[in-house]
């Protein structure tokens, strides 16, 4: 009997934990939708000078992707040291590749 009570307690604790997690993920979803609307909005309305639009769009994209990685893909949780290393390794190589190809055109 005592065992049963303990399992129930553990189960409700777990359910609460994943509920809280879901709440955070819903908030990040709302933020991602918001960032998307802002990005499309500034392009559709020509509200901002052309020189500032591109860096602003890139910042919005990077923030949105960070939410995706850290909240939707759980990279903020513990036990994600190796996944982080792999993704940041990938991003490092990606930045080098894009920098190299852009420099070739710029030259």
């Amino acid at each position: 009997m005592a065992d049963n009570i303990d399992t129930n307690k553990v189960n409700s604790f777990r359910k609460q934990k994943s509920k809280d997690e879901m709440k955070k993920q819903l908030i990040s979803f709302a933020l991602m939708i918001g960032f998307t609307i802002i990005a499309f909005g500034i392009v559709a309305t020509d509200a901002i000078d052309k020189m500032f639009v591109v860096p602003l769009l890139l910042i919005l994209a990077v923030v949105q992707v960070a939410f995706q990685f850290y909240y939707f893909m759980h990279m903020k949780d513990k036990g994600h040291e190796l996944p982080s290393m792999m993704i940041y390794g990938g991003i490092f190589a990606a930045l080098l590749t894009i920098a190299a190809l852009s420099v070739i055109v710029w030259w």
Binding site: M22, V54, V65, A94, A100
Partner: protein
């Protein structure tokens, strides 16, 4: 395999996807794969950025792209990312039926996205005669966006096979890692799309 008692415990662990060694390996393997995919897509993005002004007298980015369809596609894919989060939430609650339901919605949203993309390509080819062979810009555009579309096709096939194969098995420690790795892959498709709509469509519209 799924009838093995050790894979069907009476109480599911908190993280069924990482409870077995096989699950842990699949988890790490998929993240390793995503790191490689990042580099792969970066080379396609770099190529696109280098060639996007080489239009050879054909249509340019500012003539081609419309924002409405791309916005709809973005919303479809972003929502499908959230529905697969819901599916993983139901997996943690050990509710197999609801997990399958949310994954089914994910598949439908993915198919809607794909239909929009096919319509978009059809539109470019028939209204603007803008094909893979029109210009260096055309080749770079269809390679980058088409490669992403190919990932969506692969992801949908993966998901449908997974759902059909495990429909009668229910959730256990053998197939939980399979579902979890799929959800990670599906989120990554959305990550790539965020950069596509920013770099290709929005920056293309700005000029």
């Amino acid at each position: 395999m799924s009838h093995d008692h050790s894979l069907n415990p009476e109480t599911m662990p908190q993280e069924p996807e990482k409870a077995t060694l096989e699950g842990k390996n699949k988890f790490l393997g998929l993240w390793f794969f995503l790191g490689g995919e990042t580099v792969l897509f970066a080379s396609l993005f770099g190529t696109y950025l280098a060639l996007r002004n080489s239009t050879a007298g054909g249509p340019a980015t500012t003539d081609l792209f419309g924002l409405e369809l791309v916005f709809v596609m973005t919303m479809l894919l972003l929502t499908s990312s959230l529905t697969s989060v819901y599916a993983m939430y139901q997996m943690k609650n050990n509710n197999f039926k609801k997990m399958q339901l949310w994954l089914g919605i994910t598949a439908l949203l993915g198919m809607a996205f794909l239909a929009c993309e096919l319509y978009e390509f059809y539109h470019y080819i028939h209204e603007y005669e803008f094909t893979f062979r029109s210009s260096a810009f055309g080749s770079a555009f269809y390679t980058l966006v088409g490669f992403h579309g190919g990932h969506v096709v692969f992801g949908l096939s993966w998901l449908i096979v997974l759902m059909v194969r495990n429909a009668k098995r229910g959730l256990n420690l053998y197939n939980a890692p399979k579902y979890y790795t799929f959800s990670l892959y599906w989120h990554f498709i959305d990550v790539v799309w965020v950069f596509i709509f920013t770099v290709v469509y929005l920056m293309g519209k700005v000029g």
